[in-house]
Symmetry: C2
Amino acid sequence: MPTYTAPIKDMQFLLHDMLKINDSDVPGYDELDREFTAAVLEEAGKITSEVLAPLNQVGDVEGCRFENGVVSTPTGFKAAFDQVREGGWTGLDCDPEYGGQGMPYILATAVGEMFSASNQSFTMYQGLTHGAYSAIHAHGTDAQKARYLPKMVSCEWTGTMNLTEPNCGTDLGLMRTRAEPQDDGSYKITGTKIFISAGDHDLADNIIHLVLAKIPGGPKGIKGVSLFIVPKFLVNDDGSLGARNGVSVGNIEEKMGIHGNATCVMNYDGATGWLLGEQHKGMRAMFTMMNEARLGVGMQGLSQAEAAYQNALTYARERLQGRAVTGAQNPDGPADPIIVHPDIRRSLMDQKSFTEGARAFIFWGAEMIDRALRLQDQDAHGLISLLTPVIKGFLTDRGYDMTVQAQQIYGGHGYIEEQGMSQFTRDARIAMIYEGANGVQALDLVGRKLALDGGKHVMAFFDLVKGFIKENGDTEALKEDFLDPLKGASKDLQAAAMFFMAEGMKNPNAALAGSTDFMHLFGHVCLGLMWSMMAKTATEALAAGASDVTFYETKLATGRYYMARQLPATKMHLARIQSGADTVMALDAENF
Amino acid sequence: MPTYTAPIKDMQFLLHDMLKINDSDVPGYDELDREFTAAVLEEAGKITSEVLAPLNQVGDVEGCRFENGVVSTPTGFKAAFDQVREGGWTGLDCDPEYGGQGMPYILATAVGEMFSASNQSFTMYQGLTHGAYSAIHAHGTDAQKARYLPKMVSCEWTGTMNLTEPNCGTDLGLMRTRAEPQDDGSYKITGTKIFISAGDHDLADNIIHLVLAKIPGGPKGIKGVSLFIVPKFLVNDDGSLGARNGVSVGNIEEKMGIHGNATCVMNYDGATGWLLGEQHKGMRAMFTMMNEARLGVGMQGLSQAEAAYQNALTYARERLQGRAVTGAQNPDGPADPIIVHPDIRRSLMDQKSFTEGARAFIFWGAEMIDRALRLQDQDAHGLISLLTPVIKGFLTDRGYDMTVQAQQIYGGHGYIEEQGMSQFTRDARIAMIYEGANGVQALDLVGRKLALDGGKHVMAFFDLVKGFIKENGDTEALKEDFLDPLKGASKDLQAAAMFFMAEGMKNPNAALAGSTDFMHLFGHVCLGLMWSMMAKTATEALAAGASDVTFYETKLATGRYYMARQLPATKMHLARIQSGADTVMALDAENF
């Protein structure tokens, strides 16, 4: 069975060596000194490796059950959920007014990676709840907040997001679910929602569904969509649970992965709901959840890659096959461990350089979110908005590839379910699809975010890269291995953006045909920047006489690998982008 | 449920327009005129789309069962297997002396693609049998051939390959299964083999296992391995079945995919076996099966990509979401079909240009095999030996990626098992692993095949590309879109080979660290060559006034896409290769 060990040392390196969060001006970061974060991360590491990771395969094999209208989660999930809840892990960054611990988002991010890596299906129950909490916190009335949030912070009640219907996913304007206003100010919600993660289960006393629906007579299409709070059990004024609401589970889906999380068809039959936020402004409220969810899903790409990598590494050190081409490394054994073989190394280095780069990207992004939330820093808000589709799309595409590579290291054993490597790829696969399929992320990036505020945020990103290169250009240890390749990759990204501007004016297809390539190009430049920042940090630590020389030298070596072996992808993506839309759009639909 | 339609028109284009097989000097090709191949392909298309494809998902959902030591296949497999057998499909290219139809390999290849695309798990039962047939045909005594081959040609008896053991897969020198010589000339085989595809089932009266084992006292390692025929039921001299042999199924594996094929743990407990070929020359005999099997597995990469693409295309034409950015294409409907969106197009064109290019590559390779087999053409033999790891490794890596892209087109519906798109990716995944994991293919290519016969075969490949470019350099319609990019890509391949020669002398790791990239670079050049050849064929057909203008223009447009959008990958692979082994091998194993 696969195991999981929280990468605490790497996380501490990012938080304190690279980002130096404790010296930051972000309110709340003053509490986050090295000892405090170590204590939190160690506790989180314990519960995730000892409680959640051992349940990961159980969840995959057993799956959820749907009998007589009731959904049950796999053996052990309920006890573990109670333990997580009692440990206070569900409200780490929630508002203290509602029972949360008020910690910065960056700390919740580090903890969240561990939860997601150890058991993605399990963690989704609390993840969806957090999303619903955020939407109610941002858009609810005081009465709504008081009624729902305390129980959601503690996960005594969980939450869901209900967007998709059989006939619409990406294009929510086609929605059919309707909300009829009632005399008492409530609404009667009727319709069918599909693919509802954590839609029902036996982990909590109540489930607070957030449901998108149309109020009859409202504007057509996406502009007529409103958001509603629809609890599974109605909540009395004293907070006790009342009657069962008119919402039921039609079925649970058989899926490729995340078997431990119940993906439900939800039937709303005149269910009582209450408007959350304004009428017809449902998408705005829903986006509060969706942006957070997209960053969380991007993290799943990293998380599954990390968990798969850890196990592939162990296997590569233990499995004996063949001899090193440069001479036996394990002469007393029957063969050498496969980690001696260059192609196995290549694969492990792909994985290692991706996961560490992705972690830096996500932590760096988390600090930006804290700046936006806690300092109302509009530049930080703009930059993280621009990068959200990159974090979601690039990290889940690449994260999935890495789980496939990790599985490959096991050879035939990777294909056998008992070994658990297949589960990482099957679980990671969903992250490329949900919360907006990655093609939609690419569209959001190229069609919307690039030009947002007159292109201000993408210019800010380029300035950031240029500034970093200029500032560190005299550091010999960085120049050739890091800054030069970063400069080249960044130029490729600029050339692609220029191509979109020049050609996109004449033909919008020219930009959109290159959108997925642009998202990947952007992602590589971001990871190139992250590796350059980590290399600078490591170089400084070594110069300052850090005791753990091996750790910092390994960091530098891993970064050099990324710059030499992964960053050349930018040239390929640019060439594809610059080939334009002609070959992409050449065929009539019937001639395929 | 997914459907499958045999791509007969495309196959006929390759056989008769591009390869012009009927004009060839290969013995047997004179029979293969347009009408004859059409008749065979149409019949094969019928049985695969009407009988095998509908059983594909049944096989996935039900899987095989193992009860009381007996393996049963999914509902309908037995009846379909009988139908396939009675139709004469199992012996298409087998020796007429043993009941085969003696058709060229190229025709069996075209039919084989359909079988594999419609139901990979099912087709493996006959595929493994064919491999065992080939090994006995090449290395068996006349008595062995007479005893086993007629029943194997008809698949009344099936066959298996037994290589892997719990402690060894790639490194067969570590093998523990032993074969003790008996006085009557037979051997007693004892040991455990794992991952034995089609190892047991209820489709045939007998199963002829080919088993690698060591004769005590023989040479150490791989040089002491011999191959044995070990039937499930002993065969009497009159051909009737005798006693059950000492071979049994220990278990069947729970796998990520190919659930319809039983992957068995086989226990040999003093089972009676007979030497096939010479003592200690087992690997040579096994390679007869393995090369054929590797080409067959390469075809699985194409097959699953083709089946997945067909369904993704249908979905993209029917699913309505959003509007074309250049204006509504389906103004009377609630939304446009998603095929209007550039990023969906990009994905479909990736798939289409891959599958058609891969099919050309495989058919072209099949002709080379026929030349080697039927004309004893040593150059053809050398070239196909060189390209076998490219066909296996590149086509299964890329084929898998294409199934992932096809699944992605379905959005959330692609993750639901009921839709069947997940099965294509899960089934395609094994092809990257079995018959030598793709990293081993890359090692075979770079470590062995490149330098074979003094590098003669890779030089022949370069000459072929150069010759084609030179010969067609005056054709304006080909130059810019096809020949120039092909020339560039081929130069990248030469540069990579030169790098290996120069650096590999000093440090073998420098070549091996780039082996997977080289395999992909080589694959892209091969598909670039195929697309150039197809474009030449299509251009000529149009110039000659062919009636089906749309077909040939579509072929040209699809080729232009591949050259513009896929071939730029060669630059990335070359850059990675030229970065050498330093960053790959930098870390000590304990510092990962």
